[in-house]
């Protein structure tokens, strides 16, 4: 249950930093720091894996069901449980999202979040295998999405069908957003009661989780024959995504991975649509959380390393088509990157 490779990394980090105890904290939204060492999807309110400098690991949880799953101790009062479990110099991964009362109970801990996130970015062979399985499921999920969508169906009904398919196929979780319509659509959101119509551009990002790890795919589908502007827009997105994929390799800066995508939009006169008014990020890291740092943005300074797994997605609003999405999960290799998705790279239509 305990990831021994990660434990060795963490104890090395603790020696380097002089920490006596390291707490890997998780709650219902962000389980990733806990799961990077103890890969169990706990169902209770809080969980912490506590590592001592000698490498002992102890889990405390708030739900009796979780105590058995993680071979840990259930505590009625999580703050007291944390306080009793640590001494000396204490660091916490996930401290920023931890309730203030828990941090205060520990005393004056330091944040280990950035250090642990950096360790997590470089994936082991086992982690890459899990991400490949998640990508396969993302591909199958999108096939299903494209198969079942039909005019007259509500957005939330389509999402229910896709969620049912992904869970039936072994997904532990899935992060999914959707949008439908024309040039009035400025971004994706949770599904609404809106019913699909011929001519709609339907965007989605599917992010199934397999054995803890999330992979993502972004595609756009047009109901009926795409119009010339939708085709023109897709051409720009496909070129931008390819620019990122051609550029991505160890040693490049993540800012430039964003820049090469944005440059394609600039080349076609749509540079203003690469800013925060119309888009969020040009991609992001993937792993135990569906939206990890570093974000692919021109103002983020981070040097890409081998065995990182990143999605490059130049998703944005364009006046040609409304909001459009296109992206694949990429594994950084020794001299470039390889795409883990196999879904056809096209503007889908039905």
């Amino acid at each position: 249950m305990v990831n021994q490779h990660r434990l060795a990394q963490l104890t090395g980090l603790m020696r380097e930093r002089g920490w006596d105890h390291l707490i890997l904290y998780g709650h219902a939204w962000r389980k990733d720091h806990f799961r990077c060492l103890v890969n169990v999807s706990f169902s209770g309110t809080h969980a912490a894996a506590i590592v001592s400098r000698s490498g002992d690991v102890r889990c405390i949880v708030t739900d009796p069901w979780d105590a058995e799953a993680v071979n840990g101790t259930v505590v009625d009062d999580f703050a007291k449980g944390l306080k009793a479990a640590v001494s000396g110099s204490v660091a916490i991964a996930g401290m920023e999202l931890m309730e203030a009362r828990f941090v205060h109970a520990v005393g004056s801990p330091v944040s280990a979040t950035l250090d642990v996130e950096e360790l997590r970015r470089i994936k082991s062979a086992d982690e890459i295998a899990k991400l490949q399985r998640a990508c396969e499921l993302a591909d199958r999920g999108y096939q299903y999405f494209a198969q079942v969508i039909a005019p007259g169906m509500a957005e939330y009904e389509l999402v229910a069908e896709v969620e049912g398919f992904l869970k039936s196929s072994g997904a532990e979780d899935n992060f999914m957003l959707i949008a439908s319509g024309g040039t009035e659509v400025t971004g994706m959101k949770p599904p609404t009661e809106r019913r699909f119509k011929l001519g709609d551009s339907v965007t989605t990002e599917l992010t199934p989780q397999v054995d803890g790890y999330y992979a993502q795919i972004c595609r756009t589908l047009v109901l009926g024959e795409p119009n010339p502007k939708q085709r023109e827009a897709f051409g720009i997105f496909a070129e931008a995504q390819k620019a990122a994929e051609d550029f991505l390799k160890p040693g490049v800066n993540i800012a430039d991975v964003a820049r090469v995508q944005n440059d394609v939009f600039r080349k076609y006169g749509y540079g203003e649509y690469t800013g925060p008014k119309y888009t969020r990020v040009r991609g992001h890291n993937l792993g135990l959380h569906p939206d990890e740092n570093p974000y692919v943005l021109e103002d983020v300074n981070y040097v890409v390393k081998k065995d990182m797994v990143i999605i490059a997605h130049p998703n944005t609003y364009l006046p040609l088509s409304g909001y459009m999405v296109f992206g694949d999960t990429l594994l950084v290799t020794a001299d470039g990157c390889t795409c883990l998705n196999t879904t056809e790279r096209k503007l889908f239509r039905k």
Partner: protein, 303 residues
Amino acid sequence: MKRGWITWDKSELPPEAFGSRLAIARNALAAQNLPALVVYSDLWKSNHGRFFSNFMPYFNRGLLVIPREEKPVLLCGLSPRVYPWIKSVTILEEILPSPNLPQRLLQVCSEKAWKKIGVFDLDQLPFDLYTPICAGVECVDVPSRSIRPAPDKWELAMYRRAADMVRKSLDEEMPAGVGLVDHEFVGRLERKFRLAGAEDLVILVTNGQAPPAPAKGAKLTAEFSVSVALEYRGHWVKSIRNAAGIASDSSAVAFGEDLSGPYPFDANKTGPIFVSHAEVRDHGRRVFFGDTYLNAQNGIEAL
């Protein structure tokens, strides 16, 4: 995660419900001579913000600011591109883009000349917000229980609807579960509940060797149990059923969970809406059952 249908049906939850709820908060502010109440909201801790505004963050975080004399304002980590959607499903008319939530809150406090504010469950704020906010303005803890001691009639109606949805669907689906791979059974439930309007779901299963847990690819046996926690328009309920049909047993070991707070509930506590669930040993297997209850003034009622 929140990926179901997030909407505002005004026949189910009329605008006056929010007027009534905000009035309670404002009375509490007046009693403590506070100019505003701040309510934290994220993907997990969404219920309090939902209660006052119907705002449900599907991702990211926000702070709902309820001034004593003015309309509520949302300080929002999400992009302004989705504000039209947020406004369509909430009472909110003003949303301020807030990539840095503490900074934006302190700016609002400064503009309004607020020297002191109330914060819902202050010490439960995430640490990265707590520290800068408390450094910039005097914060007074306002316990959520003091404002929301019991569900109002609109909440109660939705709890009842959610509980009914779970109970009936499980009655329909349990007989077909034996022999299915757990993933397939969970997928069937997921589809059914999301089509019925579930916003979020947590489905756990077991064949009786251990407590319910996420599906692992096992074939379900005649001893299987399933736990379904479902969120319907901000209201969580939970039911646990078993294929053996056991619904009570004098040897059962019982647990309680408070459903009044954010998912996934506070174990071993019982608030006004709570789950009572139990485990019994049946021929060496562990069998689970439970339901959602209302702890009302006139006694306990199964929802």
